[in-house]
């Protein structure tokens, strides 16, 4: 395997390997919270923040706790637990010390615990044997890519309000179709870099 520059991974995670538009991870909050640009931007920031934090924690947990004792098969459950604990902790810290950030991001934090994109990033980084810096670049890139996708979708959905959508497709139906079209558009980026 060629040693990839963390920055390349960062760029790839935003465009060519976008968490939503090429892996279809984190769809529930993507569809549910993409009605307004402002709200989705807040959620995107929160996701990026949590991804950056959990990638560090899960990297350390995996390489210094699980691998030495041959427990890597436990990574699924351990990652979920550490993500949940981290999110809970961050919520408390924000609420106490950075109330402004809490009011902007805090209410989204409980939603993020169960966002599969977070678990997906942690799993990809260990499956692909990333180094610490590569993992961090991948996590931040994935978060920004997720934000980009949800904000773009929210923009489209704000316009969609004025479109006449067939009755059965209103809401999540048309949103999924739009997401599919966005994914097609993102294939256009695939020539830039490939990481998997």
């Amino acid at each position: 395997m060629i040693e990839l520059n963390p920055f390349v991974i960062f760029i790839a995670a935003i465009f060519t390997n976008n968490m939503i538009l090429s892996n279809f991870l984190g769809m529930c909050s993507f569809v549910a919270v993409s009605k307004e640009i402002n709200t989705s931007l807040g959620l995107g920031q929160a996701v990026t923040f949590v991804l950056a934090g959990t990638s560090i924690i899960n990297y350390l947990v995996y390489h210094y706790l699980l691998l030495p004792y041959n427990l890597e098969f436990l990574r699924f459950i351990i990652f979920i637990i550490s993500i949940a604990a981290f999110v809970q902790l961050i919520e408390m810290i924000l609420e106490r010390y950075i109330p402004n950030l809490y009011y902007a991001l805090g209410i989204f934090l409980p939603l993020i615990t169960v966002n599969c994109a977070i678990l997906g990033v942690s799993l990809f980084m260990v499956i692909r044997d990333y180094t610490f810096l590569q993992s961090f670049g991948f996590a931040v890139g994935s978060g920004l890519g997720w934000t980009l996708a949800i904000v773009a979708l929210a923009g489209i959905r704000q316009k969609l309000k004025r479109a006449s959508v067939p009755k059965g497709l209103e809401g999540p139906g048309i949103t999924l179709i739009v997401t599919g079209l966005m994914a097609l558009a993102f294939i256009g980026f695939s020539g830039i870099v490939q990481i998997s």
Partner: protein
């Protein structure tokens, strides 16, 4: 074999580590110490900070109506916060009108008490009490609706207006791991101060209705608090149009029971909506009420009857019955209790008949 042991032990250890970390965080970061809560610039309480305003108030035995149990989904627990509420959260705005936002009205289940706080609540909420009641009788009205009679503890009494509701606490039971309060209108007369009767329908997977229908038995203890609600009997001489479907019959029963025991002479028509004849209940009771009250008629309306049912009453929904049978809406007032589509359609029918909207009182559930 050893891998099972190793997995179990390591997961337990790691989970325990996180749990310890979170507990420490909760004790330090999540600890807001003691704060002062001032209610109506009059009563002061010293409370532990960190919980929601709703649960802090419940700790102090002040009961704000809340149907969802503090999840931020019913929007009932509104309280005016004058000081110390922090900014309005995105979880509250869907329930707020412009006017409420301007008056600092907040959802008390979403606001946390983190600093000294000054709030304003209606005086009558101090009348709300919690009662440890005993189930005295359970009667099956239909397959899915039960009427329950609760006895208040000796020497205690509940003062309510006919039409108001109480909240019943669904405790923990097998299959339910959270305590919730659910609102049910009182069906008995307010002159019977030592008892409360509720009419409760079964909702599949409903936490409180499963408790009532499958767990609660005669002689059991239960917890209720109340009374709440701004849907109640208005004291005047106007002719009354009452409309209910299903368990919405409860507050109407309370009104009728009250009128009977007070000997009130008002013309009243009660349109009761159901689907099939098997959904009707208490027909003898209403017959008796028709005899006891000076001018009362019970009008059952069935929307799904076939020829074979031999039904000679009204066929159709309650709003159709009003369209057809109500002569004139002017000079009358209406009491409606039921689901939202029913209320909306009946309000429409009534206003078309000339009834002013401010004389249409309703309780949606």
């Amino acid at each position: 074999m050893s891998s099972i042991v190793i997995s179990t032990v390591s997961i337990s250890v790691i989970t325990a580590l996180f749990a310890v970390l979170l507990t420490i965080a909760d004790r330090t970061i999540g600890n807001y110490g003691q704060v002062t809560m001032t209610i109506n610039d009059d009563k002061q309480f010293t409370v532990d900070g960190g919980s929601s305003l709703l649960s802090t108030l419940i700790e102090e035995k002040i009961f704000i109506p809340s149907a969802c149990g503090g999840k931020g989904t019913c929007g009932y627990c509104k309280v005016q916060i004058l000081d110390g509420g922090g900014p309005v959260l995105a979880t509250e705005t869907p329930f707020m009108t412009e006017e409420e936002l301007a008056n600092n009205v907040r959802l008390s289940c979403q606001c946390k008490v983190k600093q000294d706080i000054r709030i304003q609540i209606p005086e009558e909420l101090f009348n709300v009490k919690e009662f440890e009641v005993t189930v005295e009788a359970i009667e099956d009205l239909t397959d899915v609706i039960k009427k329950l009679r609760f006895k208040l503890p000796e020497g205690e009494e509940i003062n309510f207006k006919p039409g108001q509701y109480v909240q019943l606490k669904a405790p923990l039971y097998e299959g339910n791991d959270e305590e919730v309060y659910r609102a049910y209108s009182i069906a008995s007369s307010p002159l019977e101060k030592g008892y409360v009767e509720l009419v409760i329908g079964f909702v599949p997977e409903g936490i409180a209705t499963t408790y009532v229908h499958h767990h609660l038995e005669v002689g059991d203890k239960a917890t209720i608090n109340g009374p709440f609600g701004d849907f109640y009997y208005q004291d005047n001489d106007r002719e009354m149009v009452m409309v209910a479907v299903g368990t919405g019959v409860a507050p109407i029963l309370s009104l009728l029971n009250f009128m009977r025991s007070k000997g009130i002479d008002r013309k009243a028509r009660f349109y009761f909506g159901a689907k099939t004849p098997s959904d009707l209940f208490m027909l003898d009771y209403f017959k008796q009420l028709e005899e006891d009250l000076p001018d009362f008629k019970f009008i059952p309306c069935l929307s799904r009857v076939g020829e074979e049912d031999g039904w000679d009453g009204f066929k159709g929904r309650v709003n159709n019955a009003i369209d057809e049978m109500l002569q004139e809406g002017e000079g009358k007032e209406a009491y409606l209790c039921g689901n939202e589509p029913m209320i909306d359609s009946v309000v429409k029918s009534l206003t078309e008949k000339g009834m002013p909207e401010n004389l249409i009182y309703y309780d949606k559930f």
